[in-house]
Amino acid sequence: MTRTTSRPRRRREQDPTPSGTEDPEVLLGHYRRMLLVRRFEERAGQEYTRARIGGYCHLNLGEEATVVGLMAALEPTDYVFTSYRDHGYALARGVDPGRVMAELFGRATGVSKGWGGSMHLFDVDTRLLGGYGIVGGQIPLATGAALAVAYRQGTEVVLCHMGDGATNIGAFHESLNLASLWRLPVVYVVVNNELGMGTPVERSSAEPELHRRAAAYRMTGERVDGNDVLAVRDAARRAVERARRGEPTLLETMSGRLRGHSVVDPARYRTPAERDRLAQADPVARLRGQLLAAGVLTEQAAEALDAEVGQVVEAATEFAEHSPHPEVDTLFDHTHATPVPGETRRLPADPLFPEDQ
């Protein structure tokens, strides 16, 4: 019973106004959040090139409508697991941008106290249960979280975000099978940005219409335009409703990756035509244009919003910059949740038996 809503992959030319019935305040809220993700990610890219952010740094540029649409479909009590491309999800979930930027800066005030970095954001309050750096690693975890919800007969739903490349990992298939077999309250979202690093979906997935993989697990599969925030939100809402009834969904969102795989990737494998097409489909510019055309937003208000969001990102960056680095004497604080006798707190040159020295 796979329901496949095969939509055109991009439909930016049509409907100048997003769903006429939508409350203007809601539309503005979505736009503001998308803009926040956009500006935050642009800043993260800059800070990375200034070497104030280390490690790998993957941005949600081009994914803003998907990020905001998905998060808008959830209740505060629902759970979210994501891939390493996670900054936007934390922001859209309502995590303080300062704490997100501080994590990228590796500071003690970061969401993961400087232990996780860009790829591993975690926040108990908003139930963001982690970004995960191992491709597909979050899929069994999210499935297990949904199992815990079902075990307790709870009404929460788990949303599990992943990239297109992750659908080729064995854990994806094992997890979808378990979720369908056990009727778990989970929504798997594949953000299809057409690439896993430099490899196009067609060269990595024998069934490149990824939502159709749901059929193998008798699960609902649906594809939606990931550049359309309302389409994403509404598809996610339907999926969430099904999940609350114990019917998992595989939701595929189609959007572009505006930059390289990570900040250091110049993406030379992309043709100028491709880059053009991506710029044309830019979800933030598109929504801005639609809101202006519909009179929901004026040029003046748009500029004010730009300035306000710019301020938020500036303040977040300042907060990160002025936050303390973690103290080295906290290095062994999180080895175990339940302490053990004679716990080793040994630094590289320390003797095994310091008391005998």
Binding site: G110, S112, W115, I134, Y151, G342
Partner: protein, 331 residues
Amino acid sequence: MPVITYRQALRDTLRAELARDPSVFLMGEEIGVFEGSYKITAGLLDEFGERRVRDTPIAEEGFVGAAVGAAMLGLRPVVEIMTINFSLLALDQIVNHAAKIHGMFGGQCRVPMVIRTPGGGGQQLAATHSQNVELYYAFVPGLKVVAPSTPADARALLLAAIRDDDPVLFLENLALYNVKGEVDESAGPAEIGRAAVVRPGTDITLIGYSRMAAVAVEVAERLAAEDGVDAEVIDLRSLRPLDRRTIVESVRRTNCAVIAEDDWLTYGIGAEIAATLQEGAFDWLDAPVRRVAAAEVPLPYAKPLELAALPSAESLATAVRQTLDAVARRR
């Protein structure tokens, strides 16, 4: 005190913990209707129902990862992996996820889960079904690895593992399931990370875990009877954390040691113990520390080859006698 098998001790403990704590549940292949490949979960499905005793498809990575996710939400899953060989399919979820989640997220999330799994060769199951790869897990900070060798410890360490807030790999052993011993049903959980001096002695220290700890006790008794040697035996019980203190203190008294392990020699558990002894008891040692370990081959099926490859009471006794000879030459 009742005398029961290692298998029975495991089963009784699982049953008692299921009854005690509603957040404890079991998951694994064939643990319900089939009652477990080694019948550790016999009768538990009937008693506790499918919600608490969940049969899974053959998907080690999927269900071990699901246990990690359920533990992140506060449940206490106890998963059974049919044998430790199959845990390799779940390596990513164990090493890259279960072991990392507490530390990598700055201590915000606990993973209170247990992976029960038997290791061990000697059953003519050939190369893929006879491995002792507990070292892979004992190597990883964030995990705990315990390995009981007696029915009493099977109970006490399983209680401790289930009640612990970290992921614990609980190593069982095919050769120990039918071993009998006294079990005090009123005793509390063991303390994870403590070795036990299971036989005090003065002449030499034998160090082992799981099956080889039991073999070491047998060898010590035989040497006492045949050679008048008084060997001390240490059962490690916990491979991570490792109780280095107990090992070193013993060897500082006996001045020599032999390590017995079912895993392969090179880079094995014994190598870590030997390194610990040279650092902690260098001035006390009267002979090189010897290791008795499995031959470095994929374990063969044919009985004579399998027997030759695995450490035994005979091979351990030989190494002990050679070590005592070396000590005598020195003194």
